[in-house]
Amino acid sequence: MLEFLWLVPLLPLLGFLLLVLLPLTKRAAAIVGVGSVGAAALLTLLIVVELFGLSSDAQVFRQIYWTWMQAENFTAQFAFYLDPLAAVMMAIITGVGFLIHLYSVGYMDEDPGFARFFAYMNLFIAAMLVLVLGDNLVVLYLGWEGVGLCSYLLIGFWYDSHANGYAARKAFVVTRVGDALMALGMFLLFLHLDTLDIQQLMANANDQWQTGSSLPTIAAALLLGGALGKSAQIPLQTWLPDAMAGPTPISALIHAATMVTAGVYLIARTHELFLLAPDIMFLVALIGATTLFISGFTALVQTDIKRILAFSTISQLGYMFLALGVGAWSAAIFHLMTHAFFKALLFLAAGAVILCVHHEQDIFKMGGLRKRLPVSFWSFMIGGLALVAVPLTSGYYSKHEILFAAAGNENSGQLLWLLGVLGAVMTGLYTFRLIFTVFFGEENTRVHESTVGLVVKLPLVVLCLLSIVGGWFVLPLDHVFPASEEQAISGITSLVTDVAPFVGIFIAYLVFHQNKALADAVVAHTPGRLLQRFWFSGWGFDWLYQKILVNPFMLFVRINKNDIVDSFYRLAAWLMRLIHRLFGLTQTGRMQWYVGSIALGVVLIVGAGIFS
């Protein structure tokens, strides 16, 4: 089956083309959209099974299609590279993608842009697959920009609303900062290592560069910039909460399960480069830990159900970065996978809730939905438990691997671990704040009766299962990443790690279920209110950027509104028009004048001959 690898991205792409070019009925659009991704998922399954059936040394498959561009010593092949890492990513993308597509058939049922929605989704799947399968950085970058484009289109899917357009633009511009850095990184790598083929690049880097020298450090830092933008890590995290303006399936697919993990994938893919730059590795870990900590607090005070989940996503991505930073590569990918399952589940369940309460997203306007929406409630419960990392759920295994790796790290491992554990407490706290508020207590919303159909329930059930059993998978990534040595973890560490989520849940139970007045009381005090506002605004990042970046820029724009530079151009344009009019006068239409011009030309040419 391996030789059919090219078909995997091609199927969704064909789906996209069909959806765009043909005026399909809704039913046909659904069949094409879901069917193409479903077929890709099936094919992926076969390919992955075959790949893992091979002996572990031979689990690498490379397919070259054509030479994409060639200039002097630069050659970019359009080629795919399949190894266990890519295979895992591919399985997540097509698998979760298929479920979300299926869910969308129900969710988007009444939307006039039904076909357009599936077209974008299919294009996204294709681009994401190209990203993870790309054999060299150019192909990867193609996919990278492709998913960025789809993200932009889908955030702004309901383009009638001004806010959505703004959110889409913001996401595009903020991630573009990262992309620019990444492109610079690619140029730098090519300049010094003469190739962009990833495997070759890593080999060359190992040959030519010393660990810790400046070149690999700069290159890794630039690539990290790209990863930060895509994966919404500090300081480029501000776009993700706003991106929730898009339809909920998009939030589940792009802004939780797949695209935002592209940064994690990029670092894992180029881990050999990062190993040459220990300083950057530490920076990765530090950024991850800070992000997970800060966004945990932010999630705690949000009121919009989707924004809570968005900050939670940022926080979980922080865990992945933490894992990458401490060299626990497989743990990062493992968490990536389990997170894809449970976060997709949470978003989809949230979507089902939102759909049933007439597109209300404020959690304090919900309540007591447990009985009315049992499927959503149980989905939320299972997803939440996995997110909080309660034992026996998938999140437990992956998060603990990360926290143990952090604890065993020799560089300030304790600090990182502590931040991670505090983050875990916060996770428990905000997750169950959400669950208690929405599903318990008294009902205060009218529920849409016709609610959800089978196509919505089925993906939820499957994802529930995956969120539980997902932790039992053993990812065969040993040959992709260098083995990380087993650290001895002290009993205390282990215990604290295990207990932390329950602490969070317990506090949540006390404050948000048992004694609701307590929360109000805290907020009633000035410090509490200030803190709440500060956290609510996402630690003021947006405010800060507005002040130090946007405002000066706007000021500059205002100053230049009267066109200091433009007047120069306007003068040039005016001059051009004048010359045009003068030249136009020579074109008199009179034949003898034209003959005269020819004769004059001849006189000049022959004259030049004489006097030279």
Binding site: G584, T588, G589, R590, M591, Q592, V595, A599
Partner: protein
């Protein structure tokens, strides 16, 4: 044999050529313009033939023959257009065909 300076032949052809050009530049009657073009072509023929004479080759005269062919074809088409011009505007003034400009 005949001893005639080739330069003088060329000088003559240059003079005729310039006179032809002058005619094209000055005359407003389209028939005169065409005649002046004939003068230019004839001057070219003279230059070719004298070149051939200088080198004792037949090539000059062959080129002259080709020039005559061109002259014939050009005159045929030119005069056909002159007839149309006259039919349409009842004049041979070249200024009538200066409407397109700018």
């Amino acid at each position: 044999m005949i001893a005639i300076p080739v330069e003088h032949c060329l000088l003559l052809s240059v003079m005729l050529f310039c006179l032809g050009l002058l005619g094209v530049l000055v005359r407003r009657n389209i028939i005169f313009v065409l005649m002046s073009m004939e003068i230019m072509l004839n001057a070219i023929g003279l230059a070719f033939v004298s070149g051939g004479a200088r080198w004792g080759q037949a090539d000059g005269q062959v080129m002259f023959l080709l020039v005559i062919t061109l002259a014939a074809a050009e005159v045929a088409i030119g005069l056909a257009l002159v007839l149309q011009l006259y039919q349409r505007y009842r004049t041979l003034d070249i200024e009538t065909i200066s409407k397109m400009k700018g």
